[in-house]
Amino acid sequence: MSLSLQIEDLSLSRGGRRLFQGLSLDLGPGQACALTGANGSGKTSLLRAVAGLVAPDSGRIGFGGADPAAARASGLHLLGHLDGLKPSRTAGEELDFWAGWQGGAPIALGAAVDRLDLRRLLDLEVRRLSAGQRRRLALARLLAAPRPLWLLDEPLSPLDAHWRGEVLEIMAAHLSTGGLVLAAVHDPLPVAALSLEIRP
């Protein structure tokens, strides 16, 4: 599935406060954009707006002519601050559920587990995992159910130096196959050709 992302003249308010206005971005296959800006500038809200969870005040979000609802349902992954994992369930159960929920195939699930070195963690309850391990578990969803557009909110923050490098490699591989990455970050993202600073 090929997808592109067009954001045109977007304005967004939260809690009565205007976060940004007139924001535009055109992201094609194989491109990544790093969203930067101060805390509370609206990076997360922009990602949520692209995912269809937040309605913008004005402007348009398009997916290269595809039906927005269909594109959101089967064409994008959202990896937010929260990982959507239940502490009382095992890592394997959670990964299996989310991979299936998002339409992943068992072979892709196995490859994702190996790529993120999760196999020895699968029988552990999520509550036993460290923040970095939980992050890797959440990132495995992206590989277990391949989708072109990745919306990532601080994807590297809880990871150690080794896994930051690994995840950047995973992003680069995704881009090389025509994928798109829109990531909210505080530090520069090496794989991102584009950068967009969000200001009021």
Binding site: D83, G84, L85
Partner: protein, 221 residues
Amino acid sequence: MSAAFRLLRREMAIAWGRGGGLLVTGGFFAGATLLLPLASGPEPERLAQIAPGAAWTVLALSALLGLERLFERDFEDGALDLMAHAGLPLEFTCALKCLGHWLATGAPLAFLAPVAAIALGASPALAPLLFACALAGGLAFAFTGGIGAALSLGARRGGLLTAVIVLPLFVPPVIFGGGALDAFTSGLPWRAGFALLCAYAAAAVALGPLAMAAACRNALS
């Protein structure tokens, strides 16, 4: 395995996990039922007279337990975000979550209700009707309760708010079910009350998810 079946299985596993769901709900049901003879006196005739209604009312109150967590946990840990932009319509997802809640806690209570009523002195002949009322009523409680749970998402003391929102919605099924049980005990026609209870449950199953999904979307935005 379909996404819908996966979600249903997950909901039940979470509800049953670590003795949550049924142990708490069943324990509350049994405890509240046992309190009744202590409050109203142990005379068998008196207990037998109020047993069906008491079991039915306690069942309704037991259904409130766990409702708070129906959407709150998914809202807090980000799972609701992922569910909201999935291929499955959010309305259907909400319906599945309520169905899972009912299967994990409501349906088992339907087995406990006749036992409790008979233990209090109700006629064993009442057991099948009480079981059927508890099944249909449990569905109504789960799907109307889900509306309150979704509306109270993100609120402080959401459990209390859920109860305040939901209790008025519990009034019709409590009246219909209680009426059917009372009529049966008195030897009067009871089918009308039971039919109304089933109709209310069907309406709750059909319309409740629409309200839940709208409330969830509002909370997520």
